[in-house]
């Protein structure tokens, strides 16, 4: 089927009219030659020969923005008038022209004098009468030797190209034809096919980021036919590991990170839905145009969790959350943010470095400063934050699960109630025991003073807080604070007896534990997020969620007992009058508090004193426990101990039959409530994503300075991109979604030639290690020129015609002969007389005369070790695993790599929490980029620190041990068998005789783990042919 399609494209291409020999590159070169050769001609064409010199060497100081010496060379009138030093041109008299004198003396342009050929052009033009052409000079009209114009190759419509007519044996596919033509021109011949083992290992790593098992490799080695090869390709493309591998590439490009960066660098624990969305999109072969439309506009196109996850694209980068107090700082930070995101949008989808036009017109590409701000206008609604997305289908399931659970609870409650009543009756007659209340760490009676009746945490009144009738009165403008806690606290219980002034009040705290500045706190609050209900308040709602409890009805008439138990695993259980208050919650980890830095306050949610945080109430008593109380203890403490019956007592009381039913019910409830919690998370997903605000009316900022405001601009984009309308025909104050929609349409338009070129090149880049354009994020003047311009056109055209199916591009590439050739020249290779030595004429392998051997990326090395050790946990998606300790120190978050062990840490590296700045020792040394900026092309280094990591990192050592255990399991006790198995697992081959001997010695003297560690360090393991 694929072959048919390619055949079709082939025919179309043959019908195309353009000559196969002309490339844009050649065209550009020809233009330059043209300039040069025109010098001797009688009349110099100003637009073609002189204007480019002015553009490249003069106008930066004597043009649009700046007018040094009062001279403006950008238009005829001002140029002829001259500057502060008078006239600079004397038509017909070069020697007499000031401009010529300064140029000849190498005074102008300063620092970088004109080249002789340009001087010659200038002189010729002056002598010939200095006839001006287009005025004002259009700096973008043509490409010069220092910058790109509108005729720049990448901005032109896609060309249809002819397939080269080359003969090869065996025949290759279309890709091979293009490559072979250039190889032949350079008198090179492609390498022989790689060994089947090398082919299969390459293919697995490339498509899935994991090695084949020895059995998978052996099967292909036994039958290395094209049919078998294609079958493997299809299997790998259908594997979930494919999406995990290729999503990682995409995440590099969009600099996806899981912390804010800058000073605070707070973790983003709800950013992962974007990562999962990308993985699924790759696995489902989502057409690339849809893939991009969703990322730019998914919230509007589709909405729901999917839309929110996809538009996580917008907020994947850094975000400065400490921008300072001054207006200027705030404005500057916002402009920096906009530039950073526009850079990502322009480079990711179109290879355009639009960000370089923030302060002035782009110095190298035809992008004006005004266009930068027009694009800025389209994204001026950019906002970073979390959204809770409800999925209607999942909500319905949740409701029915909740109802079912409620019914089960009611049945349990009936049984309990009957037993309870019977037990309480028995207590009155002395037939059942009454539990003791627990001992508090601190207890404030509020009878005669504010003192802690147990320890030293005495209180002090602030404002009008006073004692009255054995209770603390707080009036909305007062609170009580204590001295500092003298020990470190992890789990804890807060407790208070409170009578509220009214039930309408919102957000006050009864008892709060907080750091001294009030930045971090946990508090029993009333009516904060939910009116009329008790909640566990916390800084930034970090640990706060609804208990889903009934509204308070009594607390205005009588004191109620409220308690909150904070357990070690982060679970918070609320209690009211000694019984559980709704459902327990667990939103985040337990917040520890440090001795000396922690205090308690009463009547205020957290410091400082202010509106919306105070309670109006009588607090009769309060207590703090430095541990998590049990339900029985809370009940006992609630003062209702006579009426509290612990579960154990109930169970013992029940007759056998009811006991069994109760056990069944308890088990069923436990199971169903776990399922319900999981469903609740699915139905209400918190996603870190674009929180679009209103669009802002946007002005050009002169020199990029927010205090130097220029014209208002309307939403738009870059006009020099051919085929698409850059003026969005929207007013400057258009609604945000309209602006973003237009931007999305402009980027993904089928006539936008950059859209498919850039992606086709990216895919190529990841398969071969180098793109046809070797700067995948930059198709401009500063980027690389295509090594095979026509191949790129052909691929981009094919990609588009095929409906932007990325998997089809993979198929085409990995089945090419070029892709399947060997990576190393045979040691005894000798060139024939008719060919060049490729190592001499193309050492960088741009002509792909071999498959460049490549060191695996950091993630692939880690994943491969997991896989070989038999420990890879293939669980997909969801929150990231964290192999760093995350320590918050006064508002800043620090991440330190820690040694971890266990299946939850053995997932693929793409699921690892990826914070900015602080990183993993192993991944770091292997060039895993910090997501602080886009990494469209990773560095590949070979360093001693890398060797140290691979030898000594705790993860490697652990995997070596697991690998050894696996080998022992699979190969038994015989050392030779063990060695063979270890080599097969690590490298998909048997050891040579010598390797077997060395390995056996090592194992005999130092154990199997030593061999396994050694194999992880072998070049063959980390460098794939």
């Amino acid at each position: 089927m694929i072959d048919c399609r390619i055949q079709l494209l082939h025919d179309v291409a043959q019908a195309a009219r353009l000559s196969a020999q002309t490339s844009r590159l050649c065209y550009a070169v020809a233009m330059l030659l043209c300039v040069h050769t025109m010098v001797p001609a009688q009349e110099v064409d100003f637009d073609k020969a002189v204007a480019p010199i002015f553009i490249s060497h003069c106008l930066e100081c004597h043009g649009a923005g700046e007018l040094k010496g009062g001279l403006n060379l950008s238009q005829v009138e001002s140029a002829m008038k001259g500057g502060e030093n008078g006239q600079v041109f004397v038509p017909g008299d070069a020697e007499g022209s000031l401009i010529w004198q300064r140029v000849m003396a190498n005074e102008m342009p300063p620092k970088h004098p004109l080249k002789d050929k340009h001087k010659a052009v200038l002189k010729q033009w002056l002598a010939g009468g200095a006839k001006w052409g287009t005025s004002p000079i259009d700096p973008f009209s043509t490409t010069t030797d220092t910058r790109a114009g509108r005729d720049w190759w990448a901005l032109q419509p896609l060309r249809e190209v002819l397939l080269p007519k080359v003969h090869s044996d065996p025949p290759g596919n279309e890709i091979d034809a293009f490559l072979l033509r250039n190889q032949l021109n350079a008198r090179l011949v492609p390498s022989a096919p790689a060994s089947p083992r090398a082919q299969i290992r390459r293919l697995y790593f490339d498509l899935t980021g994991l090695p084949p098992t020895p059995e998978q490799a052996a099967a292909f080695v036994a039958d290395p036919s094209d049919v078998a090869y294609r079958k493997v390709v299809e299997e790998l493309l259908a594997s979930d590991h494919y999406g995990e591998r290729w999503a990682r590439h995409w995440l590099d490009v969009v600099r996806y990170g899981e912390s804010d960066g800058f000073e605070r660098n707070a973790p983003r624990r709800n950013a992962w839905p974007y990562r999962d969305w990308v993985i699924h999109a790759f696995n489902n072969d989502m057409p690339y145009d849809e893939f991009v439309r969703m990322q730019l506009f998914g919230d509007q196109l589709k909405g729901g969790p999917d839309g929110a996850a996809a538009t996580g694209f917008w907020v994947a980068g850094v975000h400065n959350t400490v921008v300072g107090g001054s207006d200027r700082m705030k404005k500057l930070a916002r402009q920096d943010e906009i530039e950073e995101v526009l850079a990502t949008v322009g480079q990711t989808f179109l290879g355009l470095t639009v960000n370089c036009a923030r302060c002035h017109d782009h110095k190298f590409d035809p992008i004006t400063q005004r266009e930068f701000y027009q694009m800025a206008s389209t994204i001026s609604g950019l906002g970073y934050g979390e959204r809770v997305e409800q999925s209607p289908g999942d909500q319905a399931i949740l409701t029915s699960m909740t109802t079912a659970l409620k019914q089960l609870n009611e049945r349990l409650s009936t049984i309990n109630q009957q037993a309870r009543e019977a037990i309480i009756a028995a207590r009155k007659t002395g037939d059942a025991e009454v539990p003791e209340p627990p001992a508090a760490f601190a207890r404030w009676e509020f009878n005669d003073d504010l003192k802690d009746s147990v320890g030293e945490l005495h209180g002090k009144a602030v404002g009008n807080a006073k004692l009255e009738n054995g209770a603390l009165m707080v009036d909305g403008n007062s609170f009580v604070e204590t001295s500092a806690l003298t020990k470190n606290v992890t789990e804890k219980t807060l407790e208070a007896w409170v009578q509220l002034e009214n039930l309408d009040q919102r957000g006050g705290g009864a008892i709060t534990i907080e750091t001294k500045n009030g930045v971090v706190f946990d508090s029993i609050v009333f009516g904060e997020r939910e009116p009329g209900r008790w909640m566990a308040g916390s800084n930034g709602f970090a640990r706060t969620e609804s208990f889903n409890a009934e509204a308070e009805t009594h607390a205005a008439e009588r004191p109620v007992h409220v308690a909150q138990v904070y357990q070690a695993d982060g679970t918070i259980i609320g209690y009211r009058d000694g019984v559980a208050y709704g459902q327990s919650i667990r939103k985040a980890d337990l917040q520890p508090y440090k001795a000396g830095e922690t205090e308690f306050i009463f009547g205020l949610r957290h410091k400082p004193l202010g509106g919306g945080r105070t309670l109006t109430a009588r607090i009769h008593r309060a207590a703090f426990y430095d541990r998590a109380l049990t339900p029985a203890e809370v009940a006992a403490s609630s003062g209702d101990s006579a009426n509290y019956v612990p579960e154990k007592q109930i169970v013992e009381w029940l007759p056998q039959e009811q006991k069994s039913e109760r056990n069944r019910l308890v088990a069923e409830i436990a199971e169903k409530s776990t399922a319900r919690d999981a469903q609740a998370a699915k139905a209400n997903q918190t996603i870190y994503t674009l929180t679009a605000g209103q669009g802002a009316t946007t002005n050009v900022l002169l020199r990029g300075d927010p205090d130097n405001v220029g014209d208002v601009v309307t939403p738009g984009a870059v006009a020099s991109v051919s085929g698409v309308q850059a003026d969005f025909a929207l007013p400057a104050d258009a609604p945000e979604p309209d602006r973003r929609r237009k931007l999305m349409e402009w980027i993904t338009h089928s006539d936008n030639p950059l859209f498919s070129r850039v992606m086709a090149n990216r895919i190529w880049h990841y398969h071969f290690g180098t793109g046809i354009v070797d700067s995948p994020n930059d198709f401009g003047f500063n980027g690389g020129r295509p090594s095979h311009p026509e191949l790129l056109e052909w691929l981009a055209g094919m990609f588009q015609a095929d409906g932007y199916r990325i998997k089809d591009l993979h198929r085409l590439i990995v089945t090419s002969r070029t892709y399947r050739q060997a990576g190393y020249l045979p040691v005894d290779w000798e060139k024939s007389s008719s060919e060049n030595d490729p190592r001499e004429v193309d050492a960088g392998n741009r002509l792909l005369w071999r498959m460049t051997p490549r060191r695996l990326e950091a993630e692939a090395i880690r994943d491969a070790m997991l896989s070989v050790a038999g420990k890879l946990n293939s669980e997909m998606g969801g929150p990231a695993f964290e192999d760093v300790s995350i320590v918050s120190n006064n508002g800043t978050t620090y991440y330190e790599p820690i040694d971890v062990d266990g299946p939850q840490f053995f997932r693929r590296t793409v699921y690892r929490l990826n914070p900015r700045g602080q990183r993993s020792a192993l991944l770091d040394t292997f060039d895993c980029p910090d997501p602080a900026s886009a990494a469209p092309r990773r560095n590949v280094t070979t360093t001693p620190l890398q060797a140290l990591s691979l030898l000594n990192n705790s993860f490697v050592l652990r995997m070596a041990t697991y690998f050894a255990e696996r080998v022992e399991r699979e190969a038994g006790a015989d050392v030779s068998a063990q060695v063979v198995r270890a080599w097969q697992l690590a490298l998909c081959r048997d050891p040579s005789t010598d390797e077997l001997r060395l390995s056996t010695e090592l194992v005999q003297q130092h154990g199997l783990a030593a061999l396994c560690r050694g194999l992880f360090n072998s070049s063959e393991f980390v460098v794939v042919e």
Partner: protein
């Protein structure tokens, strides 16, 4: 086609030998004959190595290196200006005179306050830059720009650029070593010494105490020494055999070499980190025997030992995380006198000892000592408009840093702030100029040391930078 192969040959070399002490310089020299446009020029290099003392939080220049008699006179008066100062908290109190007494020091007569009595004795070795300016009055962007020329995450630091440009003088130590304050790393953590888009071997390597001074220098889990050695011999043997079968591919040769260098590092890092061989007198001169100066003293001494053994760039931080109480940095919003007395007390003697030691060993003539702060502090107090509070806010408009050593005019000061020390008025020195000067002293034209990243040849100095030629010897 020629164009392609030429470009490629250079890339190939660069790619294959990166991290083996091969550097931009080597790659560029290689390219030189071919492309005809040498990237690194032939400036005379005065400096061979540098040690950077990087103050976190903002040191008050009007209390230390920038004497302003007019400010003394105007104590308690209001700042006369129509503009709203770009400061962090936005509270503009009355002008506040210096909290530390200034004196003329040495033969040069440079005015330095009693905040730094030890460093002041080396006044004749210092080159003070009194007209520094920053783009940001906010800590993190301020620290980023001071180190990398950009206010954001993701740009290589000065040490990384030097490492990239010049490599290390030794194969057995990293080119760029970082020594953090015992109170913690600065807020930006490893982003501060990141190589960003430069190859990863140019990032700062954190040297710590203990038996694992560099992470993963030795097996992180218990491993028998003989097994370790045997495994490494085995690795070498099979890697050699593999290369013989496949041919001398650069990446394979590079890997084999990298294991040899790793072994050298394992030998040399513990040696350099162990200061017990230094004489008692030397240790005492650095203040290692006193609690207040022990941390910085040890790090300054380590710094000297690293430089001696060929490390290119050593970076020491003075100050830990920025927020919190009590302050663990120079961020004296509350009280300059108290805070700076404490912070200066931690580093004054050690830094002075470092200068002395370098000089004595004849190293100061080709070693650059850099002493920088994120920004200065306001000449007006951070308090209500009618009060002279004891603290000062951030001041990006004018502040002081100093350099010493290689290629500089000693006992010299350049630039001036206005009469109250608020804004730089004479020869303002933005960070780009500072960086251009540092590179110049290393013999590098700052416009030529570039690395292509996403559309632009990036440099330490962005698109700016003028060498402060006034201070060159």
């Amino acid at each position: 086609m020629n164009q392609i192969s030429r470009r490629s040959r250079r890339d190939f070399l660069n790619w294959g030998v990166n991290g083996l002490g091969a550097t931009a310089l080597a790659a560029m020299l290689q390219a030189d004959g071919q492309a005809g446009d040498s990237a690194l020029p032939k400036l005379a290099a005065k400096a061979k190595r540098a040690i950077h003392i990087c103050l976190i939080g903002g040191m008050s220049h009007v209390d230390s290196f920038d004497y302003k008699p007019e400010l003394t006179k105007m104590h308690g008066k209001s700042l006369q200006t129509d503009e709203k100062p770009d400061i962090f908290f936005g509270k503009v109190g009355q002008l506040r005179k210096e909290d530390f007494e200034f004196k003329a020091r040495g033969e040069s007569g440079l005015m330095i306050s009693d905040m730094f009595p030890h460093i002041a004795r080396h006044a004749d070795d210092l080159t003070i830059l009194r007209s520094m300016e920053s783009q940001s009055a906010n800590h993190t962007p301020g620290l980023f720009v001071a180190n990398s020329g950009f206010e954001f995450n993701g740009y290589p630091s000065m040490g990384s650029w030097l490492s990239y440009g010049l490599g290390a003088e030794t194969e057995s130590l990293p080119a760029y070593v970082v020594l953090n304050d015992e109170r913690g790393a600065p807020n930006t953590g490893a982003s501060t010494w990141s190589s960003a888009f430069l190859p990863s071997d140019n990032q700062g390597v954190v040297l710590k105490g203990g038996d694992q001074p560099v992470r993963d220098l030795f097996p992180a889990l218990k491993l028998d020494g003989a097994a370790d050695a045997a495994t490494r011999q085995f690795v070498n043997a099979i890697n050699q055999q593999h290369m013989q079968r496949t041919g001398e591919d650069a990446i394979l040769a590079g890997r084999i070499k990298s294991y040899e260098l790793a072994a050298k590092m394992q030998m040399s890092i513990p040696v350099v980190a162990d200061i017990s061989g230094e004489t008692q007198a030397v240790q005492e001169s650095y203040g290692i025997n006193q609690q207040q100066t022990a941390d910085m003293g040890r790090r300054c001494l380590l710094g000297r030992r690293l430089l001696e053994r060929g490390v290119r760039f050593v970076q020491l931080f003075s100050g830990g995380p920025i927020a919190g109480s009590p302050r663990a940095s120079w961020d004296a919003h509350e009280n300059v006198k108290d805070n700076h007395t404490l912070e200066a007390g931690r580093i004054d003697q050690p830094v002075a000892a470092l200068l002395q030691d370098l000089k004595q060993r004849g190293m100061l003539k080709d070693t650059l000592v850099l002493f920088t702060t994120e920004f200065g502090r306001t000449p007006f107090a951070q308090s209500d408009a009618d009060q002279v509070g004891p603290g000062r806010d951030h001041n990006r408009y004018g502040f002081s840093c100093w350099m010493a050593g290689a290629g500089l005019k000693p006992g010299f000061a350049v630039g001036e702030t206005d009469e109250i020390g608020w804004k730089a008025v004479e020869r303002p020195i933005p960070w780009h100029d500072f960086h251009a000067t540092v590179l110049h002293l290393f013999g590098i034209d700052h416009e030529k040391l570039t690395f292509y990243h996403n559309g632009i040849q990036r440099r330490l100095t962005n698109v700016h930078g003028d060498v402060v030629s006034e201070i060159l010897a």
